[in-house]
Structure formats: structure tokens, C-alpha cells
């Protein structure tokens, strides 16, 4: 008989805990399993924070090495994905501010408010030529990164807004505002798209 008949794509939550526990106890297989389970979604998430793919890959490598070295001091978590996302976000934010010599709050301002109108115009112009699904893909890509990040976490990973606020280091209301702005742009362009499908 197979040891584990579970062939579904996601492990039940309890199982993650065991793996995390094994990881903390120095099990190399657990490290590999956690890596394989999460690396793709970590890269995807990283792309909502920076366009620098090399930086994302390097940060993920460093992150796992550091996690391993500090494994005895790791806190317990029922949600390793959240833990990993937060660690990655911190790393990228740090690297980013080092590179650009701009503080994170300034980056936030720059990427959020200044581009909004420009982006909406861009969306309207672009969607005329875009086709079917590409339309939505383009719409998403045209949003400022931080808006993409909220959309990604909320719609794709089903993170509640409270958790997103904690992850992004913002207060709850600011996250809702950010989401509202993203939705406004997306819904407007979505309703006006030429090819409904």
C-alpha cells in the first residue's frame, strides 16, 4: 500500500507543521521539501516587489541558508508560506533601499500615488489593441507594484487583509485603500474591454 495516498496538490495544514518541526530539528529532507513546496510561489511573490529577478533568486537562497543556520531559534508557525513571504519581503526591501538610497516609505509614495493617473491612461490606450486574456494580464502588469502585491496576496493566495497589512507593514485601512485604488483601475478597464469572454 502507498504510504500516503494523498495526491492532492496542497498538503493539509497539519502536515506543514510537522515539516516545519522537522526542519527546526535539523532534517535536511524537510528543508528540501519546504523549498520545493514554496520556491515557485516565493519567486512569483518576489516579482510583485521588484523587477530584479536575480535579486529575488539570490535573496531566496540567502534566506534559506539563514533560516537553516538559525533554525533552533525559529518560532513555530502554522503557516510557513506567510513566514517565508515575510522573510523574503524584508530581504528585498532591505536590498532595495540599499541599492536605490531611497527609504522604503519614499518608495511607497513614489510607486503609489504618482503613477495612478498615468497608469489608468495607459490601460485605456493599451486595451484597445490587447486581445482576450492578454487584456487582463496587461492590466495587472500596468498597476504599480504595491497594488499588484495586494491583488496577488488577496486574490491569488487568499491572504486576509489583516495578514496582508502585517506582511506589508502597513495599517489595515491603508491596505484597503491600496486595494480600492487597484480595483478602481482594474474594474474600469475590465468593463470597457473590447472582447468580453
Amino acid at each position: 500500500m502507498p504510504q500516503r495516498p494523498n495526491t492532492s496538490n496542497c498538503l493539509p495544514p497539519g502536515e506543514h507543521n510537522i515539516i516545519w518541526e522537522r526542519f527546526k530539528n535539523g532534517d535536511l529532507h524537510a528543508l528540501e521539501e519546504i523549498y520545493r513546496t514554496h520556491v515557485k510561489s516565493m519567486i512569483r511573490y518576489g516579482r510583485k516587489i521588484t523587477h530584479n529577478l536575480d535579486l529575488i533568486q539570490d535573496s531566496i537562497q540567502d534566506l534559506f541558508i539563514e533560516l537553516w543556520k538559525n533554525r533552533q531559534n525559529l518560532s513555530d508557525t502554522t503557516h510557513p508560506q506567510y513566514y517565508l513571504f515575510r522573510a523574503l519581503r524584508n530581504k528585498l526591501a532591505k536590498a532595495h533601499s540599499r541599492q536605490s538610497f531611497v527609504s522604503e516609505s519614499e518608495l511607497r509614495l513614489a510607486s503609489d500615488s504618482l503613477q495612478v493617473e498615468y497608469v489608468e491612461l495607459e490601460i485605456m490606450a493599451r486595451e484597445v489593441e490587447a486581445q482576450t486574456r492578454n487584456t487582463l494580464k496587461h492590466l495587472l502588469e500596468q498597476l504599480p507594484l504595491r497594488q499588484q502585491e495586494v491583488i496577488h496576496l488577496r486574490f491569488y493566495h487568499n491572504f486576509p487583509y489583516e495578514q496582508i497589512a502585517e506582511l506589508m507593514g502597513m495599517n489595515y485601512q491603508s491596505v484597503l485603500n491600496l486595494m480600492q485604488r487597484a480595483l478602481k483601475a482594474l474594474r474600469k478597464a475590465y468593463a470597457a474591454r473590447p472582447d468580453r469572454f
Binding site: 534559506f64 486574456r133 491569488y156 487568499n158 484597503l176 486595494m179 474594474r187
Partner: protein, 351 residues
């Protein structure tokens, strides 16, 4: 903002609503079903908000330009090396590669091996998998499976070759002879077929390509494909779009393409409807892997002693090779890795 749109926004900002849409086990299901039943407008509102979320998720899915698997493997190797700098992980890697070569000798005539690379600067480079050549020397058509989940019916005497794992950012195949393709959709990784004179580009569809004796034609059953003359810039608009029930042929001087009507009948297409997968129920893992090796012409390396008590129920053929490997390794609690020499499965076996 109109009331209608305002309500949609409210729904999209509600954790419970999104959870209900994306989580099959959502505790809020009953709440939203009651809400929908409460007012005739609510059903339409919920439907529209729901569709918006699902389409956004699809767009996210398609926009994801995933990092190639061997890059992910390289990263894992770097992590493992970083954890234990004094360990002999590099040596082990080469030993594994050598062992795989030995295991692959039996079918060596099918492969042209890339040269073994040495030197440290290469350890970071993406390894290009070897090309595999598959030739139909039988009297009858032969059904082949490709690692991306596509299927090919190869006529007798026809030959295709491709990168063993199909793990580049394009899926590329060289063809001589007559073949019918059923291409697995993947807009992120377009599928190209090269014949002597033309290039066929496709995102997911079924069609027949004929390329032998100077005669080249492409006939389409479903979907649509683009055909280019070789040497043309693929992004130029000079492509010939071929629609269902059309056939595009190369003129005798090999300089141009002509389009004609076609019956749309191709016996191979009907055959593809019938046998498209191999079913296993509580079968020994070794049987499943043996079939897998044959289907994809790819060597699979594992310790048969360790896994001798593993039994598995699975259907092979309708998903990509990677999906299949994920299901198998998850079922028997193992892990797999791919290299230019094939697949390695490792684990502790089953009780």
C-alpha cells in the same frame, strides 16, 4: 460610482467573499448562499464579482513567467552547499551524474549526449538537456508522448527530435516525415515545429504536418497555427495563419506558401480520441516507471529495492511529465530531480 458597481467593490473588499470564491472548504459558503437567496439582485452581483476574481486569478496564473526547473534545482544546490561549505556536495553531484550515464547506456542509441562539462564556472550555468530523437520504424502509426503533455502520432518513417526535458522557454521540435500533433496549451511556452523549409508556431491545438521529399504542408483540425518560411523573422506579420479545415503547402520552388481548403478528416485524430492514457490501479511503482520511460523515451533512475513495496494508482498521458512526477513522488513520499540525462527518484520507500 453606480450602486451596482459600488456593491461589487464592497464584495471584492470582503475577506469572507473572496474566501468563499477561492476556497472550496470555505466556512462562509452558507452565509453567501443565504445572501444570494435573499434578493434577486444579489445573485447577479455575486456572479459578476466572482467571475472577476476568477479571471484575475487566471490572468495571474498566465502572467507567471516561471523560472526554469533546472534553475530552481541549481538554487537548491547552492543552498545545500551554503549550509555545509565543507561537505563534499559537489563531488556527490558528479558521482550522481556518472551513475546516471551508466544507467542510460542501455538506450544510448536514442540519445546524443552533450559533452560532460567540467570546471566551476559551469556549475551555475543552465544545463541544456540532450536532444532525443524518436523515429517510427514500424509499419503502423505510432503514438508518442512529449514531456509537456502534448501528443504526436508519428507516421511510419517519420522522425522528430527535441530537447529531452522540453525545459527551455520555448517548446521546439524538428520534424521530418508525416505527423499529427495534439499540442498541450501553454501560451507562456509557444510550441514550434521546424521542418526543412517552414516553421510552425502554435499555442495549443491539433493539426498535421507533412514534411518529406520536398513536399511540406500543414493541415489544421482544431485551433489555429501560424506558418512561416524559414529565415523569416518570426515576429513579422508575414506568417500564414492556418484555420481549421485549411491546409497550407509549400510551393514547388520552396519560396512561398499557398492555402487551400481541406476536408478536415484525418484518421489519426480519431485514434487520438481513443487511446490517450495508461491506467494503473494499485500497480507496483516499477511497472509505472517502466511505462513512463517508454512513453517519454527518458531514463528513470531509482533504487528498485527501496521502492519495492510501493503501489500506486495513476493515469499516465493526460498531463505533463512534471505533473505526473509530482503525483508519483507525493504518493510514495519521495522526491525527483531532472537532469540532462533523465529523471532521478529518491526516497525512503514504502512499508
Amino acid at each position: 460610482m453606480h450602486q451596482h458597481e459600488a456593491t461589487i467593490h464592497t464584495l471584492l473588499l470582503d475577506n469572507r467573499f473572496i474566501d468563499w470564491v477561492v476556497n472550496p472548504q470555505s466556512p462562509y459558503a452558507e452565509y453567501w448562499l443565504q445572501w444570494i437567496a435573499a434578493d434577486s439582485n444579489n445573485a447577479a452581483l455575486a456572479e459578476e464579482a466572482k467571475r472577476f476574481i476568477l479571471e484575475m486569478r487566471l490572468a495571474e496564473q498566465e502572467a507567471a513567467d516561471d523560472v526554469p526547473d533546472d534553475r530552481l534545482e541549481d538554487m537548491l544546490l547552492n543552498i545545500q552547499t551554503g549550509i555545509a561549505p565543507e561537505r563534499r556536495s559537489r563531488k556527490k553531484w558528479y558521482w550522481m551524474a556518472a551513475a546516471l550515464v551508466a544507467g542510460a547506456v542501455a538506450i544510448a542509441s536514442l540519445f546524443s549526449f552533450p559533452e560532460l562539462r567540467s570546471g566551476e564556472e559551469n556549475s551555475k550555468k543552465q544545463v541544456e538537456a540532450a536532444d532525443v530523437v524518436r523515429y517510427n520504424g514500424n509499419k503502423e502509426d505510432e503514438l508518442l508522448f512529449l514531456p509537456d503533455g502534448s501528443k504526436v502520432i508519428l507516421s511510419k518513417g517519420a522522425r522528430i527530435s527535441y530537447n529531452l526535458l522540453m525545459n527551455g522557454n520555448k517548446r521546439e521540435i524538428t520534424l521530418s516525415g508525416d505527423a499529427f500533433f495534439d499540442v498541450a496549451p501553454n501560451p507562456q511556452k509557444p510550441f514550434y515545429i521546424y521542418t526543412q523549409h517552414v516553421v510552425v508556431k502554435v499555442l495549443g491545438t491539433s493539426f498535421r504536418v507533412h514534411a518529406s521529399g520536398g513536399v511540406e504542408s500543414v493541415a489544421v483540425s482544431t485551433g489555429k497555427v501560424s506558418v512561416y518560411l524559414k529565415g523569416q523573422d518570426l515576429e513579422q506579420s508575414a506568417a500564414r495563419i492556418v484555420l481549421p479545415k485549411q491546409v497550407v503547402s509549400l510551393t514547388e520552388d520552396h519560396l512561398a506558401l499557398t492555402t487551400n481548403e481541406w476536408s478536415g478528416q484525418y484518421p489519426a485524430a480519431a485514434r487520438l480520441q481513443k487511446i490517450t492514457s495508461y491506467e494503473f490501479e494499485e500497480a507496483p511503482l516499477s511497472d509505472v516507471l517502466k511505462t513512463l520511460e517508454k512513453m517519454y523515451a527518458i531514463p528513470v533512475k531509482y533504487n528498485s529495492e527501496t521502492f519495492k513495496n510501493c503501489y500506486i494508482t495513476i493515469s499516465l498521458g493526460d498531463e505533463s511529465l512534471e505533473e505526473i512526477l509530482k503525483v508519483i513522488t507525493r504518493t510514495v513520499d519521495a522526491s525527483y530531480s531532472m537532469s540532462s540525462y533523465g529523471i532521478t527518484i529518491e526516497g525512503k520507500g514504502c512499508k
